[in-house]
């Protein structure tokens, strides 16, 4: 929440056009309420340097263009695994402490009602979210956390339980409203 305060002016980068940052905004609204959320968003609009994409933010921080940036963890781990050309001068810092910024975003899948292959699509989703699919994820270079299946995440990552994530009811998040809010303050 401090990012909206004047002392952070021009000192961090965000990528408002991506769904990643939009998810964080929706978590702030869900946890702090609409009024505090809106005030925070206006502060971010005034303070943040705007980039497009997590990787671009990371590269800018690495090059010293901006002291800090808000990104998802796996972009950093991914670049480290790829030689670290764009992250060698950077370090990951987690918000922790149940701060809205420590919100853990979940990737989901869905099946269209109009789909011609509903059963097969459900089967694919069940496989991907099941033990076998999550094991594939853990072993891959994606470096995202595994969930819901008891399969441990990639050992390179800081354990999920230690991240100090706040409790957010994912079903309470309101995507369209957040986009409208971001349009209102001019981030989109």
């Amino acid at each position: 929440m401090d990012l909206a305060k004047p002392e952070w002016k021009g000192r961090f980068g965000v990528s408002p056009s991506g769904a990643d940052f939009q998810a964080i905004v929706s978590a702030v609204y869900a946890l702090e309420g609409d009024a505090a959320g809106a005030a925070w968003l206006q502060g971010v609009k005034d303070n943040a340097k705007v980039y497009r994409g997590n990787s671009t933010i990371m590269k800018a921080v690495n090059a010293g263009e901006v002291p800090a940036g808000v990104i998802y963890h796996y972009y950093w781990y991914g670049d480290q695994a790829d030689g670290g050309a764009n992250s060698k001068n950077t370090k990951l810092a987690y918000f922790g402490n149940q701060d809205p910024g420590a919100f853990v975003s979940v990737s989901g899948g869905g099946v269209l009602k109009s789909s011609k292959h509903i059963a097969e699509a459900q089967q694919l989703l069940a496989y991907m979210s099941g033990a076998e699919g999550q094991k594939t994820l853990a072993d891959s270079a994606a470096l995202e956390y595994t969930v819901g299946s008891g399969v441990a995440a990639n050992s390179a990552l800081k354990p999920l339980a230690e991240l100090g994530a706040p409790t957010v009811d994912l079903n309470a998040l309101n995507g369209p409203k957040i986009v409208e809010e971001m349009q209102r303050v001019g981030l989109l």
Partner: protein, 513 residues
């Protein structure tokens, strides 16, 4: 000696050509209809979406970029053409090739080169520099060709009547260059409106990048449509502006005769300065992107040469570009013919309507076509044919400019002569007109070819699943900052476009002889 410009006006326009032209215009109108109906659907909500500070910001950015970039291209392109064609610059044949070569370097590869050379290279100035370096050949080529095609006798006559060299140039030669320069300037302006990859990488927001962001956040974007609506208005302004400035210059001559070699202006002490300036210019436009590609190929850890993948991608890109070029040229022909041979406001509107697609971002054109296809021809969705139709809609002006100016140089009397000798209209078109405009049409097709090779957003949306092009692969690698993996695709894109650019230069050269 100018020929009758409306020669051959028949009692009524030819049915087949008119209906073909109407069909092409209808196709180009699809994106326009899509935007208009989106705006109508949103109704009064549109006001809220448009009347906000962000839109003002975007409007300022877009207008400034178009004005500054187009002006820079006009000045630099014309100056370079004059230096290369009409002065005693050392090494002129070399410059002829070097000045047109940036045509083969896509704007987003150029911005990739610059921003990886100077990480803080971003914002308005950066966007103007990169787009100018990428698009000035669109002015340079037609102006250089016009300079070569202009009989020096006009200028000499002015000199003999007492004009100084500078006055003779500004009062006699420059006006003759006006249609070529303005046509090129119009293309540049339209490109600036729709440019996505280059300005996005330089973190400069225009309507086009904002539209893309909107679509990324919400799929049913009333906000995106609103922005596209403003973009259409800007495009119409640009078209009207060019129309006003171009006026009605008549350039056709019956039998150009043999003009003598123009006397070259002596640059004197400015000679090394001019040569150094051009060298700097070429270094910025060609050296930076090529150097960076080489650098990334050499150092990056993500560099990989998946030969089979590269080959397959290059193959599908070439095939798409060839199909796109052929289809676009064929579609431009009837419209250009009507515009030149049956002048008047109906054919004007018909011709101008084909320019709108070029100023809209590829993503809007693609979404418009998808919307129409899903409703009326669901079989077309996810086919190569649909992608080619999108290319036609996007790149018609490129083909049109070449064909139109070629047609304008041919006296309509040639058609009449063929007809009096007993040839039917279709025969006259096939045996007289087409061979004469083949060069112009070929140059237009070449421009379309290069445009397709580097097209990004429509291809991302419309390409059948599994079809990849060099541009989409380069984009997906470089936006994940895997510069090393992106570099081979950039290099291939340039390699594929280079022969076409070379042919364009050659054609221009020979056409002027």
């Amino acid at each position: 000696m100018t020929s009758r410009d409306a020669a051959g006006v028949g009692p009524r326009p030819p049915l087949f050509r008119t209906s073909a032209a109407l069909a092409v215009a209808a196709l180009s109108a699809i994106p326009l209809w899509y935007v208009a109906s989106g705006v109508a659907d949103a109704g009064t909500g549109m006001v809220d979406l448009l009347w906000r500070p962000r839109v003002g910001e975007l409007l300022t950015n877009t207008v400034l970029l178009v004005l500054a970039g187009t002006a820079a291209c006009l000045v630099l392109g014309t100056a370079a053409a004059w230096l290369v064609e009409r002065t005693d610059l050392p090494g002129r044949p070399l410059w002829t090739a070097l000045m047109a070569a940036p045509l083969a370097v896509p704007a987003f590869v150029n911005s990739f080169g610059w921003s990886s050379l100077v990480p803080s290279f971003a914002g308005f100035g950066a966007a103007v520099v990169v787009t100018t370096l990428s698009y000035y050949p669109l002015v340079y080529l037609p102006v250089a060709a016009a300079l070569r095609g202009t009989d020096p006798a006009f200028e000499e006559m002015a000199r003999s009547l007492g004009c100084g060299p500078w006055r003779a140039f500004t009062r006699v030669t420059l006006p003759r260059l006006r249609p070529a320069a303005l046509g090129g300037g119009l293309l540049v302006g339209l490109h600036m409106l729709a440019e996505f990859g280059a300005v996005q990488a330089l973190r400069f927001d225009t309507f086009t990048t904002a539209i893309y962001d909107q679509y990324q956040s919400t799929f049913n974007g009333a906000a995106a449509t609103a922005l596209a609506g403003v973009l259409v208005l800007l495009c119409l302004l640009l078209l009207a502006g060019e129309l006003r400035l171009a006026g009605s210059v008549r350039l056709a001559r019956v039998g150009s005769g043999t003009s003598r070699q123009p006397t070259l202006h002596r640059l004197g002490r400015a000679r090394p300065v001019a040569a150094a300036g051009l060298l700097l210019f070429a270094g910025a436009a060609l050296g930076v992107p090529l150097g960076c590609i080489g650098y990334w190929l050499a150092v990056s850890t993500s560099t990989a040469f998946p030969a089979a993948d590269l080959l397959a991608t290059a193959g599908s890109t070439l095939a798409l570009a060839a199909m796109g070029a052929a289809a676009t040229t064929a579609a431009a022909l009837p419209v250009a013919w009507l515009a030149v041979r049956r002048p008047g406001w109906p054919s004007r509107i018909l011709e101008r309507s084909t320019y709108v697609g070029n100023s809209l971002p590829g993503i809007v054109v693609a979404l418009a076509l998808i919307t129409v296809a899903i409703k009326y021809a669901p079989g077309l969705y996810q086919t190569t044919a649909m992608l080619v139709v999108a290319y036609v809609t996007l790149f018609l002006p490129r083909a049109m400019v070449g064909i139109r100016s070629a047609l304008a140089q041919i006296p309509a009397a040639l058609d009449d002569v063929a007809r009096t000798l007993g040839v039917r209209p279709a025969g006259a078109l096939l045996r007289v007109t087409l061979p004469l405009i083949a060069r112009g049409a070929g140059a237009g097709a070449g421009l379309v070819f290069i445009a397709v090779v580097t097209e990004l957003t429509s291809t991302l949306l419309l390409a059948p699943i599994g079809t990849r092009t060099l541009a989409t692969q380069f984009w997906s690698q470089s936006s994940e900052i895997h510069y090393g993996a992106a570099a081979p695709y950039a290099l291939l894109m340039i390699a594929v476009s280079a022969p076409m650019a070379y042919l364009l230069i050659r054609t221009d050269h020979e056409a002027a002889r």
